[in-house]
Symmetry: C2
């Protein structure tokens, strides 16, 4: 599966219209609200933060997925205010945001999803939200770039990916936008993503495809290991292309969704707060995938590992020690560790095996560690379990961004 680039513009998706507008939430005239609509009702699936402290829009969207009949018509997204830790009043505001969107579009409120990102513990400025909904409805068109901009917080660039798939029954498109681990001071890093397609899929298919795709993409990225109150990933399918995903088209669709998801997920890491390095972390030889992932997670969240990458230091001791405290049992005598330049294992440099470092040349290791992308492979045994995670380093700038006082 080839890698999909993150685009600076993407083609339209049949039946969908989008807008990114400045509602006045941000003070610098930047786009701060996004509306995504579909002429036809969509099937949908969603994945949400597992944090107990779920923001009001998350609770609303989970309710929508459970109860709405007749398909979905829109997603309305605001920045600058996460509408989290806002109690019943916050939930009422989220409902009102959906209702106003529905009224403007001429659909039912339960056909509208809501996403918010920004400061925790403050209420939505409903006058600006209402103004933004009105502006967005008038601006609806095919400007996905504006839509991708309208959901950003401290992200440094928009994140879009798209793929057009030719089938015997015609062509369909899968397009997604995401925002990543940017912060609105003083808030959580929040991941939001909406992926739409003009293929026709059932709700069961949507759920199945989204879970499978996210498992190895959005669920394998680590910036700082914290988990937002607002993380939301939605998949909407309106069937406007005329292509129905039948069993024989199933794997092709999964592949397309996976590629869009991977491009967006990796873009989030590449644009992680203060990130200077993109690290692919491949753990193999574990007893099962879950254990491989647990080991990978211990490494990817280790401040010592992350600062070593920032310093360009081939500090394999920290990687191995992080694996050793992951809670997964493995045979230390079987541990092997390689690093390689870029995003694949080609020409991997073996640093450690048989419980001791190899006789590698420090200059070879340093040359790899100096690169903006480093591939790390850790083999912990002879098992079949493996997992690949994507992470970034921990820099001075991360501390600056997140230590900055609210203002």
């Amino acid at each position: 599966m080839g890698s999909l680039p993150v685009e600076s513009s993407v083609p339209s998706v049949k039946g969908f219209s989008v807008a990114g507008v400045h509602a006045g939430l941000k003070t610098d005239n930047a786009l701060d609200m996004t509306l995504i609509t579909s002429e036809q009702p969509c099937t949908a699936a969603g994945m949400f933060t597992t944090n107990l402290m779920k923001a009001a829009p998350v609770r609303l969207d989970m309710e929508r997925l459970e109860h709405t009949q007749g398909g979905y018509r829109a997603v309305i997204i605001n920045t600058k205010c996460a509408n989290a830790c806002t109690g019943e009043h916050g939930l009422a505001n989220a409902r009102q945001m959906a209702q106003q969107t529905a009224d403007t579009l001429g659909c039912d409120a339960d056909q509208v999803f809501v996403m918010s990102t920004g400061v925790i513990g403050t209420h939505l400025p409903m006058d600006k939200i209402e103004h933004g909904i009105s502006l967005a409805a008038k601006a609806l068109g095919q400007d996905w770039t504006a839509a991708a901009h309208g959901i950003l917080t401290t992200d440094t660039r928009p994140k879009m990916a798209s793929i057009q798939v030719k089938t015997a029954k015609g062509e369909y498109t899968v397009t997604g936008i995401a925002k990543g681990a940017g912060m609105i001071a003083p808030n959580m890093a929040t991941m939001l993503s909406v992926i739409v397609t003009d293929a026709a899929i059932t709700p069961d298919q949507a759920n199945h495809y989204l879970l499978a795709s996210a498992e190895t993409t959005f669920n394998r990225i680590v910036v700082d290991g914290d988990m937002s109150t607002n993380d939301t990933l939605l998949l909407l399918a309106n069937g406007a292309s005329g292509v129905t995903i039948t069993p024989e088209l199933d794997s092709q669709f999964c592949d397309a969704l996976h590629r869009v998801s991977m491009a967006l997920a990796q873009a989030i890491v590449r644009d992680g707060e203060g990130a200077t390095k993109f690290i692919t972390l491949h753990v193999t030889g574990a007893e099962n995938e879950s254990q491989a992932r647990q080991i990978g997670n211990a490494i990817a969240t280790s401040p010592l590992v992350k600062t070593a990458f920032y310093g360009g230091d081939a500090n394999w001791g920290r990687i191995i020690a992080a694996a050793g405290r992951s809670g997964v049992n493995f045979d230390v005598q079987r541990v092997k560790l390689w690093i390689a330049a870029g995003e694949s294992f080609e020409n991997g440099l073996l640093l450690f095996e048989n419980e001791i470092p190899t006789a590698y040349a420090e200059s070879d290791a340093s040359a790899i560690m100096a690169l903006p992308s480093v591939y790390v492979k850790l083999q912990v045994g002879a098992g079949q379990g493996e997992a690949t995670l994507y992470t970034c380093d921990l820099s001075h700038n991360y501390v600056s961004i997140n230590g900055h006082y609210r203002s």
Copy 2:
């Protein structure tokens, strides 16, 4: 229980002699090896890193505790080289280090514990180690300050604590030294501590007392959440005071050991890498202590929480969100969060309850957060489980220290 100060010098402990010497491991003439000896054989107990990648000295000391008959006579400690990830050769070097110490002191090698801290993956320079052992044996005396200096890596100050306890049967002393979360680039933060007493206790008592004491002291400190390959805590008791800890003296001894342990553990956090703030984190109302600790650990290891403290930001949303992703289930409607100045809950400022922030004055919160010590109390329900953790912030300097390239 009053808090015990960390001393700049401590009284002698009967029967124990110590030395801190410059063996040439450090390049700047700083003390780099420490020897602690007892005239009489000691009972001992130890606690070690649970990391799978245990350093050679850790493996040796665990073996000692299991097999040695006839009591312990010495602890020999070196800096600059962790003797970790060094395979069989490393284990042989640790054994040789013990043997040389035993030969010099005139005891058996299995009566000698070994500790190492420093770079992972390099072998001990045995010529310098042997030289240091010889120097230390000649320098043996009562200079605990030198002994406390001889185990430091990037710690900025020595860590000593001592308490003298009067009983009807006479007086005994408990004295400890520790090194903390300093790093020798490019190595793990390593915690080493030796606590000695001239009271007489059985091996079973030693084990019981040490485990109980460490549970709420050394096991409740978080600097960066990483766990070293070398972490070691030893308790040695030689009985030279003539005071035997009988059941009626039991609780007094536990109290003394706990106070010494707490002083050393907190000193490690206060001198954490780049730390600018000391944070006491009290989690209450959980179903049990284990869950309270799990919630506390999620908060204390959260980079977002730690950078907010560094920035002096009363960012309660990050604390609550970290609790929410801890994996412990609790009722979000019962969550309450306070902060207070200093190291106790007096005049706590309630920031959050009933799922929403209180109407606290931001200036009051900021004034507390600007202090070098902040007390955080999080109540997650009505359960009896509680735990207090001690942690520090995540600063630019932490990144500088740990991102620095090996040289």
